[in-house]
């Protein structure tokens, strides 16, 4: 399965909509065919009329010509609507499929980079592009091409053969060769563009530093040198990129010329009527292959998008459910010998972590970045399986339960919590669908968000994309409110105060500590300030000669 061309696999995604696509291809074929047929019929009409037969001999051709004048526009309009409809239906299938798969394949790791997510969404949408602009035109060209070649062959066999050769050359060989020739320039341009982009980032984002140090002129000179290099590459490669359209024109021109020569040589058998039909058919036939160079040029990018898309769709789920094990009688969270690494042969991120957290106790997990704090959160949230060791909650091994069951018991704030582009109310209702406005307001009070949200409309305040109409502190408080509303038995907060300025950080931390009194809490943070109000602080250290972690030292509760 995985060895197949991603383009074919992308097309296979559209199989449930096969009938609609077939209709679209048919309409496209009718549209192109009517253009060729119009010229062929008109050629017959005119050449026959020149012999001045009775008008009744022409009446069918006259009607056919007029009808063909209408069918093309109508068929093209129909084709566009049908294929867009089918492609959008397929897009809906693909989006749901991608989303379902993503939901089962360890969200946290994948979502490190916002760029990756944006690209994935673009790759999903590329399916639509492939189906509308990549699949329909060649399929329709094939249908029409066969028909037109059959017509020419019926008139004059060598003419038909020549036209078939010309169409194959102009519609398949030239576009593919042109696309292949364009790959080198594409690579060179991309390399030059990357250099330019770096120089631009340096000059523009570093503008304050450059201005103050009087180094802007040098930076601009570097940008202009990079620009000159890119322009040079583009201008030189233009001579390569123009080859495609030149070759297309040459093939079309010479095919018509050859058809004319063949036709005139056989004019005794053909008559003027046959000659006119043959030549004008060849002249019109190249419209069939006109869209194909664009298709060929697009395929490389679409294939890359498909490869990335199936990379996601082929990823096995990160979480497997193990068979039920005996339940032990020990309340609270108990972690024994937890080991995690991101792939065989990679270093252990967590190596033998031990942790005991009785109900109602609040601890902090601290340590430098990269030490596995967020990995611990991912294991607790059931975003991924442990590679060794066990995690028990109230005596139940969490890997034996449905992940959603575990998340009912262990919840909180993941690293970089997402604020959806909706109202504050919608963002809160995620955590507890069906909560009343009174409940929502109460939780906003607990995280001290009520006053700040009031001017924007309280629960009806729009958050904007990524919550950018809220301040960093407000976003953090909203995420905390969601976590409190979900009311899990164990609350895990992964770096709730990251990306906040120092004074907001202190205020938010104070409110976190206030709002989580009496709960079981794991607070993951890289910042030690203000943690003395918790029951214990666990320090994670990089795996190595030192013990992986120090057991949460039981300390008198400082409440």
């Amino acid at each position: 399965m995985t060895g197949r061309d991603p383009l074919l696999r992308m097309i296979a995604l559209a199989r449930p909509r096969g009938a609609r696509f077939a209709l679209g291809v048919l309409a496209a074929a009718v549209a192109t065919a009517s253009a060729v047929a119009l010229l062929a019929t008109a050629a017959w009409l005119i050449a026959t009329a020149a012999a001045q037969p009775p008008i009744t001999a022409l009446s069918v051709a006259v009607v056919a010509t007029r009808a063909l004048g209408v069918t093309r526009g109508v068929a093209r309009y129909l084709e566009r609507l049908v294929t867009h409809d089918a492609a959008l239906r397929t897009l809906s299938d693909v989006r749901v499929r991608v989303f379902r798969r993503l939901a089962r394949t360890e969200p946290v790791r994948r979502f490190r980079s916002g760029d990756l997510v944006t690209r994935l969404v673009g790759d999903t949408d590329a399916t639509q592009d492939l189906l509308i602009r990549g699949l329909t035109p060649p399929a329709a060209a094939l249908v029409t091409g066969v028909g037109v070649v059959a017509l020419s062959t019926a008139v004059l066999l060598p003419g038909g053969v020549l036209l078939a050769a010309g169409l194959l050359l102009g519609g398949v060989a030239v576009p593919l060769l042109a696309a292949a020739a364009g790959r080198g320039p594409g690579r060179r341009a991309a390399a030059a563009r990357a250099k330019l982009s770096t120089a631009l980032v340096d000059a523009l984002h570093g503008a304050p530093d450059l201005h103050v140090h009087g180094a802007m002129d040098a930076a601009v000179a570097r940008v202009e040198a990079a620009d000159a290099a890119l322009t040079r590459v583009a201008r030189r490669d233009a001579t390569l990129l123009g080859l495609g359209s030149g070759a297309s024109a040459l093939v079309a021109g010479l095919t018509v010329w050859g058809t004319l020569v063949l036709g005139v040589a056989a004019v005794d058998g053909l008559g003027t009527v046959g000659l006119a039909v043959l030549v004008l058919t060849a002249l019109a036939a190249f419209e069939i292959v006109a869209p194909l160079p664009a298709v060929a040029a697009r395929l490389g990018g679409l294939r890359a998008a498909g490869t990335r898309l199936f990379d996601v769709l082929d990823t096995p789920p990160a979480v497997t459910r193990r068979p039920a094990a005996p339940v032990r009688d020990e309340p609270g969270l108990r972690i024994r010998g937890l080991r995690v690494r991101y792939g065989p042969g990679e270093p252990w991120v967590l190596d033998g972590l031990e942790l005991d957290l009785p109900p109602g106790r609040r601890i902090a997990v601290v340590g430098p970045s990269g030490v596995g704090k967020s990995t611990l959160a991912a294991v607790l949230f059931r975003f991924r399986d442990p590679d060794g060791g066990t995690v028990h909650l109230d005596g139940v091994d969490v890997t034996t339960q449905d992940p959603d069951e575990v998340r009912r018991a262990i919840g909180g704030v993941p690293a970089d919590p997402h604020v959806f582009d909706a109202t504050v109310r919608a963002n809160l209702l995620l955590a507890r669908p069906g909560a009343t406005d009174a409940e929502l307001t109460a939780v906003l009070d607990r995280v001290r968000l009520t006053a700040a949200l009031a001017p924007a409309g309280g629960l009806d305040a729009e958050t904007g994309p990524h919550g950018d109409r809220l301040s960093g502190g407000m976003r953090t408080r909203l995420a905390l409110a969601r976590a409190l509303l979900a009311d899990p038995r164990v609350l895990v907060l992964d770096e709730p105060t990251a990306h906040l300025d120092p004074e907001t950080r202190d205020a938010v931390l104070a409110d976190v500590l206030h709002a989580t009194r009496g709960r079981t809490l794991v607070l993951i943070t890289h910042d030690r300030a203000g943690l003395d109000r918790l029951d214990a602080v666990v320090e994670l250290r990089p795996p190595g000669p030192v013990p992986a972690a120090i057991r949460a030292a039981p300390r008198p509760a400082a409440r």
Binding site: I46, A49, R66, R76, L102, F111, H205, M216, R235, H418
Partner: protein, 539 residues
């Protein structure tokens, strides 16, 4: 929408050259189309190959050569046009550091929208004027009735397209906005997946995606049904006109009013009159994107930038005064009537909560922004009258988030003094506490730091900025400005930086901005912006 932005023609020489070349090539193409049609018609009518066989082959080759040359020249023009705009953009924007960020995308991917516009759309636009006109003239001489049919339908195409566009534009615009929102929905949900999973909402979200995408489809098809109408009108009119001409010519032929050669010529030429118009229609999208990209470029170019003040070198100031200085960000006042005296050789600590105007105070001293009211004076002279470049030469600045460049560590340190020797660089790096960092780098001072200095941690980047400032100090800069030098550092690193800062400000006229008062021992005086009555009242 205008198909061609006049600012593009006026402002960019390469566009004018391109248009001239395109018109010449377009005329040659038109001539070849006419000659080819005439020879084809003649050969079919007479069934004689004599002269035409060689000429037709030559015309085919010439058309191919024109297509190749035209495409190549057009692509080259596009590259030149983009380069010209990019250079103007960069030169214009660097003088105003505030709006720099958005331009990176515009100057790279944004300008690429001009490729299709310049290389493909503009040549087709020229052909769409030349070819129909020439065809009309030739057909009129051969058969005036056919010319009448073509002449009447041809203008109908742009007219109908304009009518359809005009009638539907408002509606289409509204729907496109809706579509963008719906398309954004999927991205939003995918980005929020960990959050959704955590609240056990991922299954419900899948159903929502289905519903939203289906709604998206209905809305899109509603829009497309109308958007495709203009293409429908175009195709219908073009084909129907050819059909009408064919029938009309056939009937006149039947009654002997026309000869076969003329009839064939008209039949071959009729579709050619409509072809360029259809091509223009097909590239409509490229044209809107290209015009929009050009408009964005000119929007930036037409933004006024502060003129650089030039002048003689500025001597080391004895006293710098803020005299009733006010500054706003938009409608929000950040400084209101601030009076402040910075005496030579003293260190002033500026504290206050975020938004109190601490960084703005530094921006005024760095001349990134002028005051809205009041003035800053240097030994009695208005700072705004001094040469920007010479004034900045006196300043050693450690920003909150220093920008490091994709160059070697040494070049990053000697950013302001490219002539500094390796020994000088090493000395300043040591004072900034970088010695250990250098020892850990694979190529020491020659290690490239990557885009934005990603090879170093934020604490190490802060030390590079300190080293820059030390080098500035060593070169005689008497003023030191520090913006939250330890805000993003962990406690151990912060202590190291603090010690280096103490060394840096010794003997200098220094302003240290920090949100906590932990720096007080370093300062000769403290300015608490929260406590400054004028500002407090404004908030």
């Amino acid at each position: 929408m205008r198909p061609l932005d006049p600012r593009l023609v006026r402002g960019v020489a390469a566009v004018r050259v391109h248009l001239a070349v395109v018109v010449v090539l377009g005329m040659a193409t038109t001539g070849l189309i006419l000659a080819q049609a005439w020879l084809l018609a003649r050969t079919i009518a007479t069934a004689e190959l004599a002269v035409s066989v060689a000429a037709l082959a030559a015309f085919a080759v010439a058309r191919a050569a024109l297509a190749y040359g035209g495409e190549t020249l057009a692509l080259r023009s596009a590259a030149t046009v983009k380069s010209a705009l990019r250079r103007r953009l960069v030169r214009h924007v660097v003088d105003d550091p505030h709006c720099a960020g958005e331009v990176v995308t515009l100057a790279t991917r944004g300008l690429d929208a001009l490729d299709d516009y310049v290389a493909r759309f503009l040549p087709q636009l020229v052909l769409a004027v030349l070819v129909p006109a020439a065809v009309l003239v030739v057909v009129a001489r051969a058969d005036w009735i056919s010319a009448l049919v073509i002449g009447l339908t041809l203008p109908l195409i742009p007219l109908f397209m304009a009518l359809v566009g005009w009638h539907t534009e408002a509606r289409t615009q509204r729907q496109w906005r809706l579509l963008e929102r719906l398309a954004g929905h999927f991205l939003d949900v995918v980005e929020g997946l960990p959050t959704l999973a955590l609240f056990r909402r991922s299954r419900a979200a899948a159903a929502q995606i289905r519903a939203a995408t289906d709604a998206h489809r209905d809305a899109t098809l509603g829009t497309l049904r109308i958007a495709f109408l203009s293409a429908f009108v175009l195709e219908l009119l073009a084909t129907l006109a050819v059909a009408l001409v064919a029938v009309e010519v056939g009937l006149r032929l039947l009654y002997g009013h026309l000869d076969l050669e003329t009839a064939l010529l008209v039949l071959i030429l009729a579709p050619e009159a409509y072809l360029p118009l259809r091509e223009v229609g097909a590239r409509f999208h490229a044209s809107t994107e290209g015009v929009a990209a050009a408009a964005r470029v000119f929007e930036v170019l037409e933004r006024p930038v502060p003129a650089e003040v030039t002048g003689p070198p500025v001597p080391a100031p004895r006293v710098v005064r803020f005299e009733g200085v006010s500054l706003s960000h938009g409608a929000v006042p950040v400084l209101l009537g601030l009076d402040l005296t910075l005496a030579a050789g003293t260190t002033t600590l500026v504290t206050g909560r975020s938004g109190a105007g601490k960084s703005s105070l530094l921006a005024l001293l760095l001349r990134f922004t002028p005051p809205d009211a009041g003035r800053v004076t240097v030994d009695g002279r208005d700072l705004a009258e001094l040469s920007t470049r010479e004034w900045r030469r006196l300043v050693a600045w450690v920003p909150q988030r220093p920008h490091l460049f994709d160059a070697s560590l040494a070049d990053n340190i000697r950013l302001g003094s490219p002539d500094a020797s390796r020994a000088e660089v090493a000395r300043t790096a040591e004072r900034a506490g970088l010695a250990d960092v250098v020892a850990g780098l694979p190529a020491g001072y020659d290690t490239r730091l990557g885009e934005r200095g990603t090879r170093l941690s934020s604490g190490q980047r802060q030390r590079v900025a300190l080293a820059r400032a030390f080098l500035r100090r060593a070169r005689g800069a008497p003023i030191v400005l520090l913006d939250e030098p330890t805000a993003h550092l962990d406690p151990a690193t912060a202590d190291g930086v603090r010690a280096a800062v103490a060394d840096l400000v010794r003997g200098a006229t220094a302003v240290v901005v920090a949100h906590d008062a932990g720096w007080a021992d370093l300062a000769d005086r403290v300015l608490d912006l929260d406590a400054t009555a004028t500002v407090g009242a404004a908030r």
